[in-house]
């Protein structure tokens, strides 16, 4: 069994895995799979160690798509086959994250319903559109416009937490990003910020 830390481009040869092991790089075409020991039992420490290992790899690589905790393959042949099957998609994702890192925003609050004379169907569709694009974040988007290279919005259904917003920024831009977020008031919404992270939210899933 092989554990997977990341799919990368220009991955470091000397990196250390979550359990202190030297990582191995399996090259398939123009993809590099950064591999190590099989995933350990789940624990808070194991999650932290996996995150730290991915971060070391991402910091030293030109481009890095992090692998979820627990990702593994039976052997090199099956890993290689999994990569080959998704090579185009992974190559495209690597190009997007190259030289970049991720900032994560948790958006708290509620979206005010827009007063509308339209019928229930139109109102429903409008509400859905707004919940996907979160127009309430526009002031933030314009403040960040010079920094954001890509955005993913994930809506949540729980009361209080409205959405998670993931932004890809150029490496080294985290401080400017943080300052822009902190100096942009949002009406009715509160935003908490974490990062920089490896580009967790911009990695495609390889599972069928």
């Amino acid at each position: 069994m092989i554990g997977l830390y990341a799919i990368a481009r220009g991955a470091p040869q000397e990196a250390t895995g979550a359990r202190g092991e030297r990582v191995r790089i399996l090259t398939r075409g123009n993809l590099e799979a950064v591999c190590g020991d099989p995933p350990p039992q789940l624990s808070a420490d194991a999650l932290r160690a996996h995150e730290a290992a991915v971060r070391r790899i991402a910091d030293a690589a030109q481009a890095c798509l992090p692998a979820r905790f627990g990702s593994c393959a039976a052997d090199e042949a099956s890993l290689s086959a999994a990569l080959a099957a998704r090579e185009a998609e992974l190559t495209e994702a690597l190009a997007l994250v190259r030289g970049r890192e991720q900032m994560t925003l948790r958006v708290h609050g509620t979206i005010a319903g827009s007063p509308s004379a339209a019928g229930p169907g139109t109102r429903y569709l409008e509400a859905r559109r707004r919940s996907r694009t979160l127009p309430e974040l526009e002031p933030l988007r314009s403040a960040l416009s010079g920094l954001i290279r890509a955005e993913r919005v994930e809506r949540h259904t729980e009361p209080g937490l409205l959405a998670s917003v993931y932004h890809l920024i150029d490496r080294g831009g985290a401080q400017a990003y943080r300052q822009a977020v902190e100096s942009t008031p949002l009406e009715g919404l509160r935003v908490t910020l974490s990062g920089p992270w490896p580009a967790w939210s911009f990695a495609p899933e390889l599972a069928p």
Partner: protein, 69 residues
């Protein structure tokens, strides 16, 4: 086995601070996944998933608030 998995998940949730919460969300919910059944096969992962969103909801109380709000 099931019981053990639950207690591991509970322990993680109980000890969760804001930064661990963020790590859980990124490391378990995002990223390249090679084999769906394998990640669920790591004991307790599914249980952590179940309760993660509820905790993230509370993260505005866990994470440090911005000054001057």
């Amino acid at each position: 086995m099931k019981k053990r998995a639950r207690s591991e998940a509970d322990e993680i949730i109980d000890r969760a601070d804001a930064s661990l919460l963020e790590i859980i969300d990124h490391v378990l919910n995002k990223g390249v996944m090679l084999q769906g059944e394998v990640i669920l096969g790591v004991a307790g992962v599914d249980l952590v998933y179940l309760r993660l969103n509820a905790l993230l909801c509370a993260s505005d109380r866990l994470l440090p608030r911005r000054e001057g709000k």
